[in-house]
Symmetry: C2
Subunit: 278 residues, 2 copies
């Protein structure tokens, strides 16, 4: 698996890189951001994988979250893949909430050939990162925002040996029960709702549980999508019923933007570090 | 002077707002970012005015610098105007380094009607901000990046009672002696170089000096524009000859990007706070 450097900038004494590689899983070229803290010069460090939300690329988090400061101080790498296969040859949709910029492992045409983001994030991407950078593959965590928060929860819950820590900002907690989720899951997976369960965090917590470290979720109370799309109460209830350690922090006055993420990202990285550096 | 709210997001317990107003000086609608720290709820706070570089709007700094964290902790507001008059009715140029996104007080056609950024930043903008927000107009500082660093230096040096503190990232230090500056000053001011001196930081330091607090400049040594456009050595030499307190910090490995700014912006705000909060 070869990797091409797109750009590299020094940041908080570490390096924020962006790389490009040919993905076998997605059958297209993919970009991925890699922040390496100064500690990675001398030894492999833990890494947190970040999944961004609808409409985002690998750029949003690395330019807007200000996460490099805390990652540098804690000695943690941050891996930020693009959010979907991308390119002129990849199927797309005019809507902002479907097609390029949104992904699972699709089974429906025309998406099934390329839209295999689940397999990419649990297979090709961690292998690629572990083989090219000074990161320790036994100490990976996962986090994300909105649709990417949904991704972090569902991917983390289903892969407890790959990802030891999970957190999320404003995740779509029950995609089977909200407009964004119903549209995407119908389009990518078809109308048989029994096929949706493995992409629904609420259902996964109820069905397979989680015996790992506490799951941390931050949710802004002024978030314009809170009631219609995100529904964190459903996640909290499922966690309580399933005895899953989940902490939801409701943040008064905060919205769905990166201003919210930038405010609390250091706290999330500290949460991951507490377990990954223990 | 009325002001319309464009957006507001809670950020580090303060508020990152963007406002729009009709500028009498520039004869167009202008946007300005205003970050108010939590301390501004109970009393007027000092404010640092930030001038961004070529191609930027008010958005770049507020989304990419991560400055709100330090501004919140220190209790300092940050004012981020757009970098030039803007709009379909405003003259423009196809080049990235001239026309909209770059400005002084132009005397040449077609620029002279709208391109009066110097007057805007020293007159209308501080009045507007002081009349609408909990900021203390006796405690203003100024900073900026690249072309905006040039702006911060020249505007600060010429207005020591309005701006008590000055800092800059990667400023164009001697625009009369570099391609960016020669192009812009010729276009906006005409070919008579005697008219350029008041927009040249190196010449201003030599001619009018500065008896205020130490001027802080950060410059990345991997900056692709260092030798051809920025020329900080000329500024340092002029400051030494003129006995002007100027500290240039050369940062090994850092480039011209916001990854550089985000790394050191907290240190700059602390520098301003040291004097403005004294």
């Amino acid at each position: 698996m070869s990797l091409e450097l797109v750009s590299a900038s020094r940041c908080f004494d570490g390096t924020q890189g962006v790389y490009s590689h040919r993905s076998e899983t997605l059958k297209c070229d993919m970009r991925v951001g890699v922040y390496l803290p100064p500690a990675a010069v001398s030894q492999p460090v833990p890494a947190v994988f970040w999944l961004s939300g609808l409409t985002c690329t690998e750029q949003n988090f690395i330019t807007k979250a200000g996460a490099q400061r805390a990652a540098s101080a804690l000695g943690i790498a941050i891996i930020t893949p693009d959010t979907s296969p991308r390119g002129a040859e990849i199927p797309n949709d005019d809507a902002y909430d479907f097609g390029q910029g949104a992904g699972v492992d699709a089974t429906q045409e025309p998406w099934s050939r390329n839209f295999r983001m689940y397999s990419y994030v649990v297979g090709e991407l961690p292998e690629l990162v572990a083989s090219h950078f000074a990161v320790d593959p036994t100490r990976f965590g996962i986090s994300g925002h909105s649709m990417g928060g949904h991704g972090a929860l569902t991917i983390g819950l289903r892969n407890p040996t790959l990802f030891r820590t999970i957190s999320a900002f404003s995740p779509i907690c029950a995609p089977s029960q909200c407009p964004w989720g119903e549209k995407a899951l119908t389009g990518y997976l078809g109308g048989d709702r029994s096929q949706w369960a493995k992409y629904d965090a609420m259902q996964l917590i109820a069905e397979i549980g989680w015996s790992g470290s506490e799951i941390l979720v931050d949710q802004g109370e002024a978030d314009e999508f809170l009631e219609t799309q995100l529904k964190p109460d459903l996640l909290v209830e499922a966690a309580a019923r399933g005895d899953v350690p989940l902490r939801l922090r409701r943040r008064t006055g905060y919205d769905h933007s990166y201003f919210f993420i930038s405010t609390f990202i250091a706290s999330h990285l500290e949460h991951h570090a507490r377990y990954l550096l223990a």
